[in-house]
Amino acid sequence: MMREFTCIICPNGCEIRAEIEEKEGGAVEILSIEGAACKKGNAYVEQELKAPQRNIATSVLVKGGILPLASVRLTAPIPKGRIFDAMAEIRKCTLTAPVESGTVVIHNLLGYDTDVIVTKDIPENAEK
């Protein structure tokens, strides 16, 4: 069976075609892959067939900062199916200014080998 993928690893967005064979028990064997401009594309397709993973970016509340939010992202992707669980976990957090970019907000999110980190400095609001 032929399947087509748009690689999301970089802005090139390579169109990759993979010939796959579905095995018993849901496993998938890749017979051939073509169309990726780099080897990351092949790895992406393999991952997509096995267990799709995504990174997410959102924000957490900040008290006393020049902005009410600090943006955050994950240090490594998580299974696509857990995105909304991750959002719910991250929504529980509140930070207090000053907040520094790189600060770990949640270690091992949902038990995965990934941290939620702040991506923006939020200085304290001096104008009170």
Partner: protein, 427 residues
């Protein structure tokens, strides 16, 4: 918030105390920051960045998604992290900047006036670098008929509400236009609990990058309808719904194809326009295709000493290319300040009907340069050819060329001549 300012040579111009400075950079977004840092490394230290917002960083402050920096830094960063790399360098090098300061006027004599927290301030610069970025096309610019309820936002405004001000502007959403910011907001709104019903695009092809269709729409089951547009807006105080119609090849709505969608929010992601009001005041000539300045390979406009780069020059899809363009600009601006002029650029760059535009539009023909362009429509297995006087001087094979993706070609100096126009064609 003032950076270090040395004691300046001052004079009175138009009754305003005026400070002398080598370079004023208008706008502290990705282009302005990269230009400032590169100028400093080229030995030009008498710089001032003037930024309208409270903080440096420009639009990157609200672009919290990742995917920035793959070309420039070989790693994937969120927008704020990408900006921070440059802001940290500006701070470290003690490059002066002021925030909360709106430039009101730039003249062809390179006199820059700004409204600041300390009142009006004025600088006489040797060179002015225009890095004001772009703004979004609005409903007014599209002329969508119907009522005027609240609930119609451009994608960037919705992005600012959610990512900067912690305000959720939407529950049931329809998106018009498949620009990258629109698709990124489709995902963002979904993550924050809104229901995005669909994205409609008037063109027969998407206007954003394929990866965003995949990771922002397909991942969340949001359909994308091509050759469709909004033909009416309904609602009194708040938006209650929109009418969507299919369009023909001339973008005319086809009668009988109307479909009603009830929603409280319509997000517009229908294009970006370089913000050039200040440039026009300064006598800078614009290109009708890019809506940005006409520049030469030095990124110099028709006004000597006034340069432009980044989204104010032509809309980019990747910030990495904005930074790199601004760095190239800075090298030229440094040369201009040292030599007080730059070489003539009499060679014009023309295009065939497949190419929408090029940047630069003029060159000297004496040295190599980077040619940026966009195609007019999606094409497969094509070859982009650059000729001078009918002689091929560069070519690039493309498996696919799409309007959403800026194409760049390195033009080598060996084959270039100082006379005879260039033509860029697709074969």
């Amino acid at each position: 918030m003032d950076g270090q300012m040395d004691k300046k040579t001052c004079s009175q111009i138009n009754g305003i105390r005026t400070e002398a400075v080598d370079v004023v950079i208008v706008g502290g977004g990705p282009a302005g920051l990269a230009a400032a840092v590169e100028l400093y490394h080229k030995g030009i230290h008498d710089i001032l960045i003037v930024e309208r917002e409270k903080q440096l960083g420009g639009i990157l402050r609200q672009c919290i998604h990742d995917g920035f920096g793959l070309t420039r830094f070989c790693t994937t960063l969120s927008g704020p992290e990408y900006a921070k790399r440059f802001i940290d360098e500006v701070e470290e090098l003690k490059i002066p900047y002021i925030t909360d300061a709106a430039v009101l006027e730039v003249t062809d004599a390179k006199l820059v006036t700004a409204a600041t927290r300390d009142g009006l301030r004025q600088w006489q610069a040797k060179s002015v670098i225009l890095t004001m970025g772009c703004r979004e096309r609005t409903r007014g610019a599209l002329g969508i008929p119907g009522e005027r309820p609240t609930g119609v936002f451009t994608a960037g405004v919705a992005q600012a509400y959610i990512n900067l001000y912690n305000t959720m502007p939407a529950r049931e959403v329809v998106i018009l236009g498949s620009g990258d910011i629109g698709m990124i907001m489709a995902r963002r709104l979904t993550l924050e609990g809104a229901h995005v019903q669909a994205v409609f695009e008037i063109q027969p092809y998407p206007s954003g990058l394929p990866r965003n269709i995949e990771q922002c729409l397909n991942d969340y089951g949001i359909p994308l309808y091509l050759s469709h547009t909004v033909t009416a807006i309904h609602g009194g105080k708040r938006l209650t719904g929109v009418t969507i119609s299919r369009v023909d090849e001339h973008f005319k709505p086809i009668p009988g194809t109307e479909k009603e969608y009830s929603c409280d929010t319509l997000i517009l992601s229908v294009g970006l326009i370089p913000e050039n009001e200040l440039s026009l005041d300064a006598g800078v000539a614009l290109d009708g295709r890019t809506k940005g300045a006409v520049v030469d390979e030095y990124f110099q406009t028709n006004v000597p000493g006034i340069f432009a780069a980044g989204n104010v020059l032509h809309v980019h899809d990747l910030v990495d290319f904005v930074s790199m363009e601004a760095e190239n600009l800075a090298d030229s601006a440094a040369e201009y300040i040292r030599d007080k002029s730059l070489p003539d650029c009499p060679v014009e760059i023309k295009t065939d009907r497949n190419i929408n535009h090029t940047v630069p539009q003029r060159i000297s023909g004496t040295r190599g340069f980077k040619l940026s362009m966009r195609v007019n429509r999606p094409m497969k297995d094509c070859r982009i050819v650059v000729r001078q006087d009918g002689v091929e001087i560069a070519a690039k094979k493309m498996k696919k060329a799409i309007p959403a993706e800026m194409i760049q070609m390195e033009i080598k100096p060996e084959k270039l001549k100082t006379s005879g126009n260039l033509e860029v064609c697709v074969e």
